[in-house]
Symmetry: C2
Subunit: 282 residues, 2 copies
């Protein structure tokens, strides 16, 4: 595996890096960001994955997410992948922000022409973790995951499917039931096809209905989020967890919207919450 | 005075606003950002001004500065003005990032064609404070100032000239002696003319040499800053303060560069330091 260092910058008592590599899964160069706190030689640190939302790259949370102080304090490596394959050879739509490039929805597409490059599930679940293991001082026995909006959907679904891999899972304003809302139904239909049974492993509410469980789940959702009613529908997750007897902590945050002004407000709290669980695993 | 609300967004237990208004000083519409922490009805809070660097607007620090958590904790209003006049009628240079739009250097220009619009000194020193007083719950008896790079130059010079107005002054990687470095000499010559005596009130080191003093000054400067040697020359400020017997705290921060990855690292520390001084004034 060839890892190219795009930049490494000192910040908050650690190194904020940006790296790129040729991905086997997506067939493209992929770029991601990693923050590594200062540590002792040979020390390995737990990992927090952050999956970004529609239109984002690795850079949005790196610039606006305000995670570094908390990750340095708790000794946690923070990994921010891109949201889709990129490049001239990757099929895209010309005028849709919510499908194609920047909108991979963390699925392995099976429909043409998307199936060749849009393999973000396998990229996040297998290829990038192997690269992280090989290249960073990461204790891969201690991983947690979070994300925002489409990336909150990614964090919840990857986390629920990988409950053995992730110590704790959280999300900021996630799409909780993509199969039942416009953003998700549009993307899943085109990436996966019209058979809705195939969508359920990419739908947090459906996964819980079908038996997936995680003991440590935290969700923050702003009440002034313009997407809450139509696209996010947090109440569906609350109902699914209640019906399943799954003790999730789902918090409605008064007056907050869908932006990084919201995410950054609660980021340190999420990092501390994950740290508490990651460190109780030692 | 007409103040237009561009946006108001809940963040970190307060409101991050962006506002615009027709400026008498610059003859243009000016945009600025203000963060107001939650407060009791009728309560007025101290103010921290932040002046931005070359190429920046109000938005850079608003997105990347990581000041809101600290300002909310300490109950401080944070104001981020633009760095120059903007608009079609404002003279500019087509290919210089360090002169013209985005590079007002916090002077009142006296040379044509710059003198009509480039009046950032009077804008920051008089017009915008009056607007803040009229429109926000600001206790203008308790003001401090900081800034980055060109804005660090602005904070130090406005702060040294206004030692009665500002309780404390700080800077991140400031241009400390613009009259003696390429960025500054170019800008001051074109805004003010070739008579270098007129430059001295816009030069922190020259102001101190000429007798200006402030009892509470803090500067952070990264040692890996690519601009340190040629443009910033922190050692000149260290020497001037030492020669003047002025007890400034000037810290060289190992491995940090010139970016917001550096600024954000030490922002909470600066806010807390200003808060300590602002609150001892009550």
């Amino acid at each position: 595996m060839t890892l190219r260092t795009v930049s490494e910058t000192r910040s908050h008592g650690g190194i904020q890096g940006v790296y790129s590599h040729p991905s086997i899964e997506t067939g493209t160069d992929m770029t991601f960001a990693v923050f590594v706190p200062d540590h002792e030689p040979g020390e390995k640190m737990p990992v927090l994955w952050y999956l970004s939302g529609l239109t984002c790259t690795h850079a949005n949370v790196m610039e606006k997410g305000e995670y570094r102080a908390a990750c340095a304090e708790h000794g946690i490596i923070f990994i921010a992948p891109d949201t889709s394959p990129r490049g001239d050879g990757v099929p895209d739509t010309s005028d849709e922000y919510d499908f194609g490039k920047g909108a991979g929805f963390y699925v392995d597409a099976v429909q043409q022409p998307w199936s060749k490059h849009y393999r973000m599930r396998s990229y996040i679940e297998r290829e990038l973790p192997d690269l992280i293991t090989a290249s960073f001082p990461a204790d891969m026995q201690r991983q947690s995951i979070t994300g925002h909006s489409m990336g909150g959907h990614g964090a919840l679904t990857i986390g629920l499917r990988g409950s053995d891999r992730f110590t704790s899972i959280s999300a900021f304003s996630p799409i909780v039931a993509p199969g039942k809302v416009p953003w998700g139904a549009k993307a899943l239909a085109r990436y996966l096809g019209e058979d809705r049974a195939a969508w359920r492993e990419y739908d947090a509410v459906a996964l819980i209905e079908d038996g997936a469980r995680h003991p440590h789940m935290l969700v923050d959702q702003g009440t002034a989020d313009n997407f809450l009613e139509e696209q996010l529908q947090t109440h569906q997750l609350i109902t699914a967890c209640k019906d399943a007897g799954m003790p999730a902590e789902i918090r409605m945050q008064d007056g907050y919207d869908h932006s990084y002004f919201f995410i950054s407000t609660f980021m340190a709290d999420h990092v501390a919450w994950h740290a508490k669980h990651l460190k109780s695993e030692i």
